[in-house]
């Protein structure tokens, strides 16, 4: 079990180092990247199975006792996130085989990709707030380089916005960590949870707001989301797919972790605020998407709107709502990555992301059209796909908590999402191909096309499977939510049975 906790960090690290050592051979690097992310997925599944059977697992790095050293903890929520990171990593690594150009590969695309996965998994597994900051930075620096790799004008402009906002968020996070250490004298999250529940100072709400601001920028919630649609669509499609799937979700993960474990003393203020923000996030995101006419920009605005759904469950803070949030995150990561991959495949066929210049893809490749329809309808929340059950549980939780306004907003956003997905369907797939000749593309070799379509197909099958097997997966989410709402088990796993904290 202890090894399993460290493996999701060690595997990508090993892959990255190996890729750097064999810089010359791109073929071996590709094989390593696919094998590494596949191994990460398997390790994630093993971790999830272990946590499901044996409860929350913790390991003290270097055998330093709990509140002093660095702790890695995995409850069900962390394990689910690691599995999803492995899945997205694997799908995108396979997809990159057919789409990534040699120039970018030679500049170290594969090692950077592994380091990004390492940062993401580290953030999910750490039990220490400062360590979380470090993992954030590992993830960020890898994402910075991945975003500008290639150096096109659009990428540079997008990167300036992305880098600035993320550095600002890191500075706020760091300040919040420092102030929290000043008031409590610890940074271990389990220990902090104990300390903050016992004595809450005047500074606590201010600290909670600082964390909300710092993670809110990373998660792209209202009104801090504007960097996301300005930057995500500029990178190569494999990069934007992995960003869309994983990066903002690390912010959401941290929000959920911090606002269930540390700042749950005054839900009347903090969680109410999160609820209001979630409604505004959903609405502004989807309205932004409706106004767009570029494939990936539409999808980027939908990320923002979906983030609203994820923190809606956190705002309600009931077992059903949190389970809904976790289910939603799992559904969203798979579906959103898939939609970006489809947009890349369409671009490969037609040479554009502009809806105006696209069309006729249904005639050219009916299978791709069918594969688009699965994640698109799932995103809009049509039964029996995964998005339906995710939305259903959140709406039910909202009705149980008598928050009718937010339920109405969520349903309206669902309809507008459907509108925007049908717009893409009509413009890209259904309408006849545009007359203007598109730039000539190099001929598409079948193995290359397979490496693009296979991950799309696998993710679509998983989307359908989550919809059809909603009950066991919801059970998993419900147990994860239960663990989040009752931090005693988490604290015991980290600090041991005698959870008396040494005073110093």
């Amino acid at each position: 079990m202890k090894t399993l906790l460290v493996l999701p960090i060690l595997i990508p690290l090993g892959t990255a180092v190996a890729c750097l050592l064999i810089r010359k051979s791109l073929r071996t690097q590709r094989a390593l990247a696919v094998a590494g992310s596949g191994a990460l997925f398997v390790a994630g599944l093993a971790l999830l199975a272990g946590v499901w059977r044996g409860g929350i697992a913790a390991v003290q790095i270097g055998q330093w006792p709990a509140p002093f050293g660095i702790t890695l903890v995995s409850d069900l929520f962390s394990a689910i996130m690691v599995v999803l990171a492995g899945l997205v990593g694997f799908a995108v690594a396979v997809y990159s085989l057919g789409t990534m150009d040699h120039a970018r590969e030679r500049f170290g695309y594969h090692p950077l990709f592994s380091i990004l996965l390492m940062g993401v998994c580290g953030a999910f597994l750490t039990g220490d707030l400062f360590n979380l900051y470090v993992w954030f930075e590992v993830m960020l620096i890898a994402s910075f380089v991945l975003l500008v790799l290639g150096g096109e004008r659009e990428q540079i402009e997008g990167a300036i916005k992305y880098v600035t906002l993320n550095l600002l968020s890191s500075a706020l996070f760091l300040a919040a960590v420092g102030l929290l250490y000043g008031t409590t004298g610890t940074l271990n999250m389990a220990d902090l949870s104990l300390q903050l529940s016992q004595q809450s100072t005047d500074l606590t709400p201010a600290l909670a707001m600082l964390f909300l601001l710092a993670f809110g920028i990373k998660a792209a919630i209202f009104p801090l989301f504007f960097w996301l649609p300005a930057s995500y669509h500029t990178a190569p499609v494999a990069v934007s797919a992995v960003f869309a799937g994983l990066l903002t979700k690390v912010g959401v993960y941290s929000l959920i972790r911090v606002f269930t474990l540390l700042f749950a003393q005054d839900p009347g203020f903090t969680h109410k605020l999160i609820l209001v923000l979630s409604g505004l996030t959903m609405l502004t995101g989807v309205l932004g998407a409706v106004a767009q006419s570029e494939f990936r920009r539409i999808l980027s605005f939908h990320i923002v709107s979906q983030i609203g759904f994820m923190i809606l469950g956190l705002g309600l803070l009931t077992p059903l709502a949190l389970a809904g949030s976790i289910f939603y995150i799992a559904h969203h990561i798979i579906v959103k990555t898939n939609l970006f991959l489809v947009s890349g495949a369409v671009h490969r066929l037609r040479g554009s992301y502009e809806l105006k210049k696209l069309g006729g893809v249904y005639r050219a490749s009916p299978w791709l059209a069918a594969l688009f329809l699965v994640p698109a309808m799932s995103l809009a929340g049509l039964p029996p796909l995964s998005g339906f059950f995710a939305k259903l549980s959140l709406v039910m939780a909202g009705l149980n908590a008598a928050q009718h306004l937010i339920v109405a907003v969520a349903l309206l956003v669902g309809i507008l999402t459907l509108f925007s997905m049908t717009k893409i369907w009509a413009e890209v797939f259904w309408k006849p191909a545009s007359q203007s000749p598109v730039e000539s593309r190099p001929p598409l070799r079948p193995p290359q096309w397979m490496s693009m379509v296979a991950p799309i197909a696998v993710l679509a099958v998983i989307t359908v499977a989550i919809g059809l097997l909603a009950e066991p997966i919801f059970l998993l989410a419900a147990r994860a939510a239960e663990q989040l709402l009752h931090p005693a088990e988490y604290i015991e796993a980290v600090l041991g049975k005698t959870s008396c904290v040494p005073s110093y």
Binding site: F130, Y133, V134, E137, L140, I141, F144, V145, V148, G151, E152, R153, E154, I156, E157, G158, A159, I160, K161, V163, T164, L167, L168, S170, A171, L172, L174, A175, V177, G178, L179, Y181, G182, T183, A230, S231, H233, T234, Q292, S293, E294, E354
Partner: protein, 117 residues
């Protein structure tokens, strides 16, 4: 000493945010650097300042005498400085690259990614 540092940190934050609100990307980067330094000093101050009490156990004792300087914030700051340095180095290169490819350092003219085509 607390008061002096508080004023310094406040000044750094104010200057950093002011520079970030300017339109030049060079000033933006300087603002970011000031901001991360302000955060580092904030950790240093918030964790408590104690002069002349190093966290060393004297030879004739087995535990520390209680008012001692906490070494942990300094370790945190050291980590943050190293990370901040790396990130800042990247940001400087990015700004240079932006100036080369876009041909301006004016943020208001870097709007191709936000415009509708």
């Amino acid at each position: 000493m607390h008061v002096v540092l508080a004023v310094v940190i406040g000044g750094l934050y104010a200057a950093g945010i002011y520079l970030m609100l300017r339109r030049s990307i060079v000033k933006l980067i300087i603002g970011l650097a000031l901001l991360s330094n302000a955060a580092n000093l904030l950790i240093f101050t918030a964790a408590g300042l104690r002069r002349g009490r190093p966290p060393l156990v004297p030879e004739d004792a087995s535990v520390l005498a209680t008012p001692y300087a906490d070494p942990l914030p300094q370790a945190l700051i050291l980590t943050a400085i190293v990370i901040g340095f790396g990130v800042l180095a990247f940001a400087v290169v990015l700004v240079h690259l932006a100036w080369q490819t876009v041909g301006t350092d004016d943020l208001d003219r870097m709007n191709t990614t936000d415009r509708q085509p």
